[in-house]
Amino acid sequence: MEFRFEHAKTQHSIRAERDGESFRLRIGERTYLVDLVRAAGGELAFRIGDQVVTAHVARDGETFHVALGGQTFTLSVAKPNTRRSAAAGGAANLNATMHGQVVRVLVSEGDAVKRGQPLVLLEAMKMEMRVAAPHDGRVVRLLCSAGEVVQRGQALLELAED
């Protein structure tokens, strides 16, 4: 069975198959014969030769979080034909930088704004955060309102570049 993962914008392919009680894994030219030592409570321990590797793996939909050797790696199941669509017409969405509540929207649709001008005030855990204009431009459309709870990455407004 072949798995394709994406990590740090790079695709990695690995073939994995059962071989009796063991697993045979191939990454490029490298082949590993792996014995499972333990798989419980999110902990996964496996033996490669005389080394036992202990990892913690948690799955969140198409994302695998792997903690190993004091580091955390986030791998997503790679989809071959996904390409980001570019924002059309020079206008782009300005997104929430954190999960929180909109305290105040400081601009109106059609307003001309200067680079660095605060546009939206967000708050989470009693911390206030200004979302400022990344460049001079014009507010095309407001996509949030005061009091609304927004997710990180959610579009707050559409800003056209001058």
């Binding site: 069975m1 993962f5 030592v37 999110g42």
Partner: protein, 501 residues
């Protein structure tokens, strides 16, 4: 001693207090919000009382519901811990009027230290040095005039504040109005009091605080210092005791401890409290910042080096017992460092990272302490502080404590949210930190552009991901044993599997 107390708090500190109660044979009742119904604190407490919905305004800040819960469960005392109502004099009064004991100082002391202007005049009168400042109730123009006299840079702070909420550095007159406005709004939200004040800002500052304990029989002791200079957004992330700066300056330490006791005396303080000072590293001058009339988040480092359990002391003092030791009995043994593990992204302005904790595996080793209120399956929500745990290492020397803490951090597994663990490890390895040259500006000066160290994906990580994917997909379709014993297993999906070992 009390038979049963109520803990008016949540998370790791509620768990910490429950543990102290266990050791002392006291029953612990916690209050909780709907969001915390399945929390560790609720699980460990002898009894738990639901007091409202997730937002603190409808639960942990509802004084009347908390006092009612204490009466209904027949508690004799209320422990406020820190945050929420801990420094709310009206709450302390309400507890007292209900015939219960407030585990902390008298409301009068909380009120006097809680209003910065009152606190400053009290401690000044007691001969404790304070920073040049302006406490205004007036218009922005009054603040602007006062600011010009104090000179820039200066700090805008909330009069009722603490914990960095509502605090801002202003470096130029042009930025003052906007800073005042934002601070007033934050202060209003956090403390229901939007009054502000200004004070001189020290560029090369160290944050050093003194722990004090005072009983109701007139005995007062200090438990030496903690240095908390490593901060981000004016919030402490690494704290230690002793302070590397004071280690070489025993007279200065003695002077600061003496000043802290005088500050406590100025408000007839009882119970545990902390006097915070800002120290100018160039001149060695120190100034009173504020007194926190409660237990501190970073109290474990003091516990490690002094061998005193501060929470148990709080309970004994509140129950009317005299302090079981004198000043001359107290000592600092070795070195302890605490770091706060937050669900936040240090590479993106330390923004909180909310989400589900898919896997939490704390380290365990000699002289390592983990204070945490969450475990696998819990959620970091927007309603509360995003701290996941406090990790404390104790060792014979500072260098050993740093190594011990770093090893424990590397063994701390937290999956599902972004944490500051990699960041903390980089701070611990930073040369200025290693030599003890710690100032409150270290993080912003050295780590402003911090990015997580890039680690190429090792084959073993790829193998781990592939194996867990394979174990899920190759599960026997029929007759498989349900993985009910392991509900949080990442491979406990509808297609249960059985490992062929």
């Amino acid at each position: 001693m009390f038979k049963r107390i109520l803990i008016a708090n949540r998370g790791e500190i509620a768990v910490r207090i429950i543990r102290a109660c266990r050791e002392m044979g006291i029953e612990a009742v916690v209050v909780y919000s709907e969001a915390d119904a399945d929390s560790l604190a609720v699980q460990l407490a002898d009894r738990a009382v639901l007091i409202g919905t997730a937002p603190p305004n409808d639960s942990y800040l509802r004084a009347e519901r908390i006092v009612e819960a204490a009466r209904r469960t027949d508690c004799q005392a209320v422990h406020p811990a820190f945050g929420f109502l801990a420094e709310n004099a009206a709450f302390a009064e309400m507890v007292r009027e209900a015939g219960l004991t407030f585990i902390g100082p008298a409301p009068e002391a909380i009120r006097a230290m809680g209003l910065k202007t009152e606190a400053l005049s009290r401690v000044r009168a007691a001969g404790v040095p304070t920073l040049p400042s302006y406490a205004g109730e007036g218009l922005i123009a009054d603040f602007q005039q006062a600011a010009d006299q104090l000179g820039y840079p200066l700090l805008v702070k909330a009069a009722a504040g603490g914990g960095g909420k509502g605090m801002r550095v202003v470096r130029a007159a042009a930025d003052l109005a906007a800073a005042l406005e934002a601070s007033a709004r934050e202060a209003g939200k956090a403390f229901a009091d939007n009054r502000l004040f200004l004070e001189r800002y020290i560029e090369s500052a160290r944050h050093i605080e003194i722990q004090v304990l005072a009983d109701s029989h007139g005995n007062k002791v200090h438990l030496f210092e903690r240095e908390c200079s490593i901060q981000r957004r004016h919030q402490k992330i690494i704290e230690e005791s002793p302070s590397p700066y004071l280690e070489a300056r025993p007279e200065l330490r003695a002077a600061m401890c003496e000043a802290a006791l005088r500050a406590a005396q100025s408000v007839d303080y009882t119970n545990a409290g902390t006097v915070e000072f800002i120290l100018d590293a160039h001149t060695g001058e120190f100034f009173f910042l504020e007194m926190n009339t409660r237990l501190q988040v970073e109290h474990p480092v003091t516990e490690a080096v002094t061998d005193v359990d501060l929470v148990q002391m709080q309970l004994r003092i509140a129950a009317g017992e005299p302090l079981p030791f004198r000043q001359s009995d107290l000592y600092q043994r070795g070195h302890a460092i605490e770091c706060r593990i937050y669900a936040e992204d240090p590479a993106a302005g330390f923004l909180p990272s909310t989400g589900d904790l898919l896997c939490v595996q704390p380290p365990s080793a000699p002289h390592i302490r983990v204070d945490s209120g969450v475990r696998t399956g819990d959620t970091i929500s927007i309603h509360y502080d995003p701290m996941i745990a406090k990790l404390i290492a104790h060792a014979g020397s500072r260098a050993e404590a740093i190594r011990r803490l770093d090893a424990a951090l590397s063994a701390y597994t937290i999956l599902g949210v972004t944490t500051n663990i990699a960041f903390l490890r980089d701070v611990l390895a930073q040369p200025e930190f290693v030599i003890g040259n710690t100032t409150t500006h270290l993080v912003e000066q050295v780590f402003a552009e911090w990015q997580p160290p890039f680690a190429p994906l090792p084959d073993s990580a790829l193998i781990a991901a592939a194996l867990s994917a394979l174990l899920q997909s190759s599960a026997p379709a029929v007759g498989a044993a349900p993985a009910a014993s392991d509900p949080f297993s990442p491979w406990a999906y509808p297609d249960n599997f059985r490992v062929g070992v």
